[in-house]
Symmetry: C2
Subunit: 112 residues, 2 copies
DNA sequence: CCGTATCCCAAATGATACTG
DNA sequence: CAGTATCATTTGGGATACGG
């Protein structure tokens, strides 16, 4: 991993050698990027409500991975009851923009 | 499945409800799209040589799925030894173009 | 409220051998 | 050459219960 994401020159394209693309392919990840992008700042509970099929643990793991990748920022407020908010980093927003044309295409394609 | 690919209006984004996005997330699929896009027409053996980590059976399955999705066209020549060539359909090429900005971003991001 | 820890299950991929 | 069939294995994800 951590190799070249997509080397078009040598006739190959090793997208999966890229950690990010690997992460993107995991369940709910693109959804999460979209959801956070739309809300700008959003709490865990609300994210969960938008993805009722995802289990708490899976969602938590995905959010951790996105944070570790530097695409998501997690802010915790020491209140009672506790509050946590997520937002995209600059890189995360850039990703969101690159993702959009693809998702639009997918939606249109599916509707055929 | 076969639902809306990415519904941005209601604050959700159910990318995974889309069969195509689901397919795209499978191993080697984005690579396959890239490889075929670059070669225009390419034989099974050459695809395999570009993805040495993928097993024959997995590659075969992925190619079938891409064909079933209407993104890839398979042409078989009744020669001996047999020859098969793959190429993208129009939809497949459209996908490839939508994929490109994302993969470029991934490559740059990984290089950080 | 926002998770983590644990255990379990299903899906996805790999390895290999064989065939038209 | 271009796969298919079969079997083994890994990996990912779900359910649930509990903790700060």
């Amino acid at each position: 991993m951590s190799e070249i994401a997509c080397n078009l020159e040598d006739g190959g394209c090793y997208c999966l050698l890229s950690d990010v693309m690997d992460l993107l392919g995991r369940k709910y990840v693109m959804d999460l990027v979209c959801i956070v992008a739309i809300h700008e700042r959003v709490r865990f509970g609300e994210i969960e409500s938008h993805l009722p099929d995802a289990s708490t643990s899976t969602l938590s793991t995905r959010l951790d991975e996105l944070e570790a990748a530097g695409l998501l920022r997690r802010e915790q407020y020491d209140e009672i009851p506790p509050r946590v908010e997520y937002e995209l980093t600059e890189d995360g927003e850039e990703l969101g923009q690159r993702l959009e044309p693809l998702l639009e295409w997918a939606e249109a394609f599916e509707a055929e």
